[in-house]
Each structure stands twice: as structure tokens, then as C-alpha cells.
């Protein structure tokens, strides 16, 4: 593992929905107070986002609904087309991929074997037509595993790891509680031993004790596997607990970035100050 290079280096990342005119960037963003271009009506979902993510690091992306935080990880996960900018993903073996221009075949391989995505809504991340074990097996098959025994063993290991009783391996996800479905989603995401885990509001809407177990699980995964993670959330408590560094987004722009405790205790930007003051 090359620890002195970022897993992910993002520069000038932008996504504009709509015709996009030359004024889009100048007329939107934090100063303009909107992400809709008044001239052409395009929605500037993400503009000029830059960050590095290092091996084993958890980076928080915080912001209100519509700030563009989820759009950033959709672009990284190759679920959406980059309009401009660059995002270089570096595999353990040093192979680099420019995610902004990567082809569909490479995109599929990266999603299947190198990335793991956990959605707020487990319906987006799980297959409800197959069993819990089948959900994990699907990911393992996509990453090239063919031995039935190896798949079954790995599935049992992941269920145990995510505190799902192994006896429920053949049950369907709809028979699981909300917290268990979320943990199954994490197990599924971890199956091919990804190098980058993308977590989108994974604790939102869960009750407090379930949230706590999910957050504990995420930290244990970081400690044991050293996976780099991007954690998108609107919850200051989640970034405080999980992330060493945090980006604050608004109107598609990063308005502030820094060490998480600095963002929370000495916020510099008026918006972050307002956000932190409303929460505490």
C-alpha cells in the first residue's frame, strides 16, 4: 500500500444539469445565494470542488439538503457524468484512474471491486428479491469469486462482522428491521474488500440506538480494514464522531474545509457559524 499518496484527488469537480452557459459559475454559488443560473436556468449541482482523501482517512462532507454533497459522491461512484474537473482514484497497486473520463467497462469494474456505496435508503443498495446471503454473493460474483464455499464463508463472516445473526443468511432483506437492513447494506458494500467506501446519510432516519451501532461499526471497519471513506451527512454529531476532516458545502460549493473539531469549534464562514450555532 502506498500511504504517501491520496486514494482520491479531486480538483475543480463540477456537475451542471441543463444547457450550461458561460455565466453559470459566476451567477451561482455562495455569494449569489443560489445554484440555479438566472441566465440559462441550469442547475449547478457541484462546482469547483477540490479535496484529497488519504488511505484510511474518513472525510466528512456536511451541508443542508440541496447543497450538492450527495452529488459529489454520485460523481465519484460513477453514477453521474462529470461536467468539468478531475477526480483521480488510485488503486492499492498504484494504478490511477481519471474518473471524469473513464469508460463504462472500467467504471463497472471499479464499482464492482474497488468502491462500496451505502445509501440512506437501503432499497437503493439492496436487492430485495434475493436473500441476505445472496446480496453479499452478488457482489462477490461481480468481483470474480466463483467458489460456492468461499462465497458462503465470506458471507457468514460479513454477517457476523455487521452483527447480523448468521442463522438469518437465507432470509430476505424485507424480513429485517431498518437497522439490520442498513447493516446488511454495509456488509454487501464491504464484500469485495473495497478501497473506497462512500456513505450517504447512512444513519439518517434511524432511531438513536440503531444509529449508535452503525457508527460504531463504521469506526471498527476503519480501524480494522483501513478503508478510506467519504461520509456525507447533515448531522454535526456524525462528522464529530467519524471524520478527522470535514468539508462544508452550500449551493454546490465547498464554503469551508478543515479539521472537524476546528470546523465545529472555530468555524470561519458565516454559513458554518450559523449551522454550528443552530445545532448546539
Amino acid at each position: 500500500m502506498v500511504a504517501d499518496r491520496p486514494v482520491l484527488a479531486v480538483r475543480g469537480l463540477s456537475r451542471i444539469h441543463g444547457p450550461a452557459c458561460p455565466s453559470c459559475r459566476d451567477l451561482t454559488g455562495d455569494a449569489a445565494g443560489t445554484n440555479v443560473c438566472p441566465r440559462c436556468g441550469s442547475v449547478v449541482a457541484v462546482a469547483d470542488v477540490a479535496f484529497d482523501l488519504w488511505p484510511g482517512e474518513i472525510l466528512g462532507i456536511m451541508g443542508e439538503s440541496g447543497s450538492g454533497k450527495s452529488s459529489v459522491i454520485r460523481l465519484i461512484h460513477l453514477d453521474d457524468q462529470v461536467t468539468a474537473g478531475s477526480a483521480v482514484f488510485r488503486e492499492h497497486d498504484g494504478t490511477e484512474h481519471e474518473l471524469a473520463t473513464t469508460g463504462e467497462e472500467t467504471a463497472r469494474r471499479l464499482r464492482d471491486t474497488r468502491f462500496g456505496m451505502v445509501h440512506q435508503n437501503p432499497h437503493l443498495g439492496l436487492n430485495y428479491l434475493v436473500s441476505a446471503g445472496g446480496n453479499i454473493a452478488e457482489r462477490l460474483l461481480c468481483s470474480g469469486e466463483r467458489s460456492f464455499q468461499a462465497i458462503r464463508d465470506r458471507a457468514l463472516g460479513l454477517l457476523t462482522r455487521t452483527e447480523i445473526p448468521p442463522g438469518r443468511i437465507d432470509h430476505q432483506p424485507r424480513q429485517f428491521s431498518g437497522g439490520m437492513q442498513q447493516r446488511l447494506q454495509i456488509a454487501r458494500a464491504l464484500a469485495p474488500r473495497p478501497e473506497l467506501l462512500l456513505l450517504d446519510e447512512v444513519t439518517t432516519g434511524l432511531d438513536l440506538s440503531v444509529q449508535a451501532r452503525i457508527l460504531d461499526l463504521i469506526l471498527e471497519i476503519q480501524r480494522e480494514l483501513g478503508v478510506a471513506m467519504l461520509v456525507v451527512t447533515h448531522d454535526l454529531g456524525v462528522v464529530r464522531l467519524l471524520a478527522g476532516r470535514t468539508l462544508v458545502m452550500r449551493h454546490g460549493r465547498v464554503v469551508e474545509s478543515g479539521l472537524t473539531d476546528q470546523i465545529l469549534e472555530d468555524p470561519q464562514h458565516p454559513y458554518t457559524q450559523q449551522l454550528v450555532m443552530s445545532a448546539l
Binding site: 476546528q262 469549534e265 472555530d266 470561519q268 457559524q273 450559523q274
Partner: protein
């Protein structure tokens, strides 16, 4: 006890410091942290206010010595510690850590460098214990070692040793510290700060809210850390503790509040 004044000029002369080292090897302790001209002002955008917190602090903290920050409430003692830890972003000044990998100015270093230094070289112990909820006390104390790559068993063994030194009853070791008394929490906090043998230890009133016996245990632990060569920067509100523990004293004064802008 020597009096260190707060003018930055005294702390920026590294060439003469190395000269001194050559002349009196035994007497001159190695500087671990050199702070000069440190200033911090909070800008509250929504209220259109500037609140000065620290104005021009400067001092040196050396290996095996304790530098005490003293001054009235509001003089910015805790803010100085938070600036050094990078929880606060200072406006001006330098805070150079003379670390294992060379000099690093904490005022301007990258976020990753700051995180690395926090994990390896600086421990910051406040009156409040911030830790993961639901984690047993031994694991809370062992966490800095685990983060540096120790095995869980080795880290727990080292943590138990620290807890024993601070006389925390063994029946509490596996319980999360959430239910502990203030004095017990503070000792857990100090044990965690010492467990990975940091180069610089920052203490914010480590004996506040402690009974006499607990305070004595904390004082003994501070003496032991000094003897082991740890550089300590501390805030005490008890003048007796300053007299008993401090090798250098830095007096901070409340920054002048400018007229309404």
C-alpha cells in the same frame, strides 16, 4: 522558577539556543515547542463582532519541563492550547513543534500534518472527556496506541498500567466512562493522554474538581511524565500547583477590546 516574559523576540533565537546547548550540555533542555507572536480573534459574522482572545503570546516549552500559563479568566489560556492543537485557527504568529521529523509550524502546516502530529506527538487533556460512547475505559485509554498500530492486547496492557498508576479501581476498567465521577473521568483523560508517550502534553486544569487524594495522584503522574522527558504546557488555577510543578511561568493578560467597529 524562572519568569518568561511574553515578548516574541526571546523565543525566536534558535542559533543562540544551539550555542547554549554546546556550552552546557546538561543544563539546557531541548525545546519542543516555540510559540511566538500568537494572536487569535474570533469573528462572528452574524453579529458583526470581533472578539480578541489571545494577543501576542510567546514562550518555549522544553523536554522534561513544565511551562504554566497563568492569567485572569478571559486572558486566553485555553485558547492558546486550542490554537496549538489547531482546534482554533490563529490569525498571526508561529507555533513551531520541534518534532521527530524536524520542525513543523502548527500555524501553517497542512491538515494532514496536524492530524499526524496529534496522533503521534501532542496529547491534549481537557477537563472534559471526549471519547466514543459505549467504549470501555481500558479501550478509551488504549485508543491512541491502537491508532498508531499497536495490537489491541499490547495497547490494553499499556492502558491498564496507566490506569493503575492513577489508581482508578480495576472494577471500572471495562465500564464506559460516561457514568464516572468528574475526578474519575479526569484521571481516565490523563491516562489516555500519557499512554502513547507524547513529546508534548497539554493540560487544561487537570486537577479541577478533584479531591485531595486524586489531585495528588495526578500531580505524581505529572512529575513522572516530566522525569520521562515529556514537555508539558499546563493551565492550573491553583497557585500552589504552579509553585510545585512549573519550571517556567508565562503570564497572559486579557487582550484589549477595540472600540466598536
Amino acid at each position: 522558577m524562572s519568569e518568561t516574559c511574553t515578548e516574541p523576540s526571546r523565543t525566536t533565537s534558535s542559533p543562540s539556543a544551539s550555542l547554549e546547548t554546546r556550552h552546557s550540555k546538561l543544563e539546557t533542555p531541548a525545546p519542543v515547542l516555540t510559540v511566538a507572536g500568537l494572536a487569535k480573534t474570533f469573528t462572528l459574522h452574524h453579529q458583526n463582532k470581533s472578539i480578541p482572545s489571545v494577543a501576542g503570546a510567546g514562550f518555549t516549552v522544553s523536554a522534561g519541563r513544565l511551562t504554566a500559563l497563568i492569567g485572569p479568566s478571559g486572558a486566553g489560556k485555553s485558547s492558546v492550547l486550542k490554537c496549538i492543537y489547531r482546534t482554533y485557527l490563529p490569525q498571526t504568529g508561529s507555533m513551531v513543534l520541534h518534532g521527530a521529523d524536524g520542525d513543523l509550524d502548527l500555524a501553517t502546516c497542512s491538515e494532514h500534518a496536524a492530524l499526524r502530529v496529534r496522533a503521534r506527538e501532542i496529547a491534549y487533556v481537557t477537563q472534559f472527556l471526549h471519547c466514543l460512547p459505549r467504549q470501555g475505559t481500558v479501550d478509551v485509554v488504549a485508543a491512541p496506541l491502537v491508532a498508531l498500530g499497536s495490537t489491541r492486547d499490547a495497547a490494553r496492557a499499556a492502558a491498564e498500567e496507566r490506569l493503575r498508576e492513577l489508581d482508578l479501581p480495576a472494577r471500572l476498567w471495562d465500564v464506559p466512562p460516561a457514568t464516572f465521577s468528574g475526578g474519575e473521568r479526569q484521571r481516565v483523560n490523563l491516562a489516555r493522554g500519557l499512554v502513547h508517550r507524547p513529546r508534548l502534553l497539554m493540560l487544561d486544569e487537570p486537577t479541577a474538581s478533584l479531591d485531595r487524594r486524586s489531585a495528588d495522584l495526578v500531580v505524581a503522574a505529572i512529575h513522572a511524565a516530566k522525569a520521562a522527558g515529556v514537555a508539558i504546557l499546563a493551565i492550573f488555577h491553583d497557585p500552589d500547583l504552579v509553585a510545585a510543578l512549573a519550571d517556567d511561568v508565562v503570564q497572559l493578560t486579557r487582550p484589549e477590546v477595540p472600540c466598536a467597529a
